[in-house]
Symmetry: C2
Subunit: 110 residues, 2 copies
């Protein structure tokens, strides 16, 4: 699965989206298509220092620890967040360039 969306896809409005480029893009948007994942992303984007321990992501979204772990994996596989192990904890951070790439894709034709 292609993860570098900026290299993959020009803005939707500039040219017809080739069929082979659509799936990775769709996967990235689908990752945002769940309320829990949107809230997780928001928590990461608003965090001071830009990163949050996984342990601090469970309670705010009101789901079980395995469920939150699952959603974080989806965001990771979509390339929207990164995970870094530090001791027994794992710290998550937004991948700003990937989020920016998604924004760009929604831009109208120039």
């Amino acid at each position: 699965m292609l993860n570098d969306l900026a290299a993959c896809c020009a803005p939707l409005g500039t040219a017809a989206l080739p069929a082979e480029n659509a799936p990775p893009l769709a996967k990235a948007f689908a990752a945002l298509g769940d309320p829990v994942r949107l809230r997780l992303l928001s928590l990461l984007m608003t965090a001071e220092g830009g990163q949050v321990c996984a342990c601090d992501l469970v309670e705010p979204v009101g789901k079980s620890q395995p469920t939150v772990s699952h959603h974080l994996k989806v965001l990771r596989e979509a390339g929207l967040v990164t995970a870094t192990r530090r001791g027994t904890n794992v710290w998550y951070a937004v991948a700003p360039e990937q989020v920016a790439a998604l924004r760009e894709v929604l831009a109208p034709a120039t």
Copy 2:
């Protein structure tokens, strides 16, 4: 279902996304989370005149007419496209302000 996303949600990075605002946003992103719908949106965004007859949307995406109609309905219910009947045909067009609202939501904190 709230459809005016611009009035609903500030950028994700500016403040923690309230739980009650997440579902409509997630629904809009989920509408983009399918390759067929992304291609449909791309076809509408690149169309001269900004609108396309439904009959011209079936063949390019390579799906059956009912399937394309279903996807167009999803995009419509997400507020991303509008439909206008003209005779026996229905013309679809992008709702630019809604797409722009989605772009804004992905903006980092100021």
